[in-house]
Amino acid sequence: MHELLNDPIDVTVDFIGHRVRPKIIKWGNTIFNTEKVNLVHPAREGENLIFYFSISDHSHFLKLRFDTHNMEWRLVELYTD
C-alpha cells in the first residue's frame, strides 16, 4: 500500500562528513530504523531548500521531507508491500 501523508515526525540523524543520514524515525507510536538510504534529492521552493530522503527498512519504504528553513521533518510517503 502506498500512502501519501504529510505528518510531522521525530528523526534521529547521523552526520557523516557533509551528509545527513536519517537513522531513527518516530511517527506517532511507530518507530522505523533506517536500513538503506536509496535516494536523496533536493528541491527548491524559492530560496528555501528542501531535502527528500527515500529510505527503507526490511518492510517499509519511507519518503521524508526535511525543510532546511524551519528544520522540520515530515513523513510524506509510506509504502508497504
Binding site: 501519501l4 535516494l39 533536493p42 528541491a43 527548491r44 524559492g46 530560496e47 527515500s54 519504504f61
Partner: protein, 425 residues
Amino acid sequence: MSIILHLDFNSFFASVEQQANPFLRNKAIAVGGKSGGAGTGSTGGRAPLLARTVVTTASREAKALGIKTAMGSMEAMRILPSLIMIQGDPQKYSEITKRFLNIMRRYSDAVEQFSTDEAFADITQAAGDYFGATALALQIKEDIARECGPYCTVSIGIAPNKLIAKLAGESRKPDGLTVVPPADVINFIDSQPFSAFCGIGSKTEEKLTELGISDVKSLRRAPLSLLRSHFKNQGDWLYLAARGAGDDQVSDKVEDPKSIGHSYTFPYDLELEAELKTNLLALSDKVAFRMRRDNFYATQVSAFVRHARFPGVAGPSSAGAGVGAQHKIKDGISDGLEIYKNAWEIINKIRDKEMPIRLLGVSVSGLIKSPLPSRLFKKDQKTHRALEALDEIQNKFGSDSWRRAATLKTVFLERASGWHYDHEI
C-alpha cells in the same frame, strides 16, 4: 571526424522509482501522469484519482507483460491487474536528469540534452579514438550507477554523428553499449528497419514503400532527384541518412521556449463558475511567474478546456473532446491577472455551460524577450512594481508563499493528479 555519444535511460521514471523504493524492484510498475498536464489546482482535499492518468513509463518488467507508454491506466490495469501504478514525482526525475548531465559534462564541453533522459555529447577530444570512446562510455555508466543509483541503467550508442549514435544506442536495451565506428556504419544501418530511425515516421515509411523502397539498401539506390521530388527537403536528408551521414553538431545552447503554459486535470469535475475562475487564476499566476522570471512578454493568450462528457461518470469513457481558442494582445503582458482576464473571456465563450469541466489550461505565446517597453512601463509602473515585489517574495519563499486571496483554497498535493514535468518554481 567527430565521435558522438548518445545516452538514454531505460524506462526512466520507472527506474528512478525502483531506485528510490526497493519494494518496487523486479516488479511490473507504471508511472502515471498527464501528457503535458498540470501545475496547481483545487483538489478540495479529495484524493487524486488514478482513473484519469496515462502510463508515462512502464518498468521493463511491465513492458515485458504488454504495458506500453501512453496507455490509459484503466486499460493497463485490465491487461495486467497486478500492475502497480505510481503517480509521477517530477522533482525526483529532475534531480537524476541534473546528475546525469553533470556526469556527461565531465567528459565533454558539448552536451546537448535531447529530452529528460536523453542527451548527446561530442567526445572527440576526450576519447581520442573508438577504443577510448568505449572506455569512456563504461566510465560514464559506472558514474551513473554510483551517483544516480544502480537501478538507473542507460543505453549508450557511439558513432560518427547524432543520427547513427542514437540508432546505435537504441538498438540494445536495457543497459546496452553499441559502438559503430565509421567503417561499420553502412553494415549497421543496413540491419536497421526504417522505424528505428529518428526522422523517419510512419508516413515517410509508407511513402517510401509506395515507391518500392523497403529498406536502407534500396533507399541508397534511389536517385536524389526522385527523393527530392517526393520528399522535398527531407529527400536530401533521406539520401544522406541512407549513406550513414548526419548531423554531428552537438549544441549545448538552450533555446527560448515558443510558449509557456500550465494545465491541470482535476481529480473531480468542476461544476461551479467560481471554482473554474479560481483555478484559472491560479494557473495564470503560475504562467506569469515563469514569464517574469525568464523576462518574457506575451502577445497571445490561449486557453482550453475539456468537458466531462457524462456528468458524474468517472473514467476514460466519459472524456469529452477538448476545445480551445486564442486571443491576440496588442501590448505585451506578463501579469497573471491580465492573462487570467483574457483566458476567462476565451473559456467563457467556448465552454459548454451545461457540462462540468475536467481539464483547464492556459498558455501564452508570441513571446518577446526584453525588458518592459517604456511606453508600457509608464502606464503600468505601479502594477509592475507590485509584481516585482511579489516575485521577490516568491523567489525567496517559493511559489506557495503568496497567492491571490481568491486562490487561497488551492492545494498542491504531493504527486497530485495531473503533474507536469516542469516544477522549477
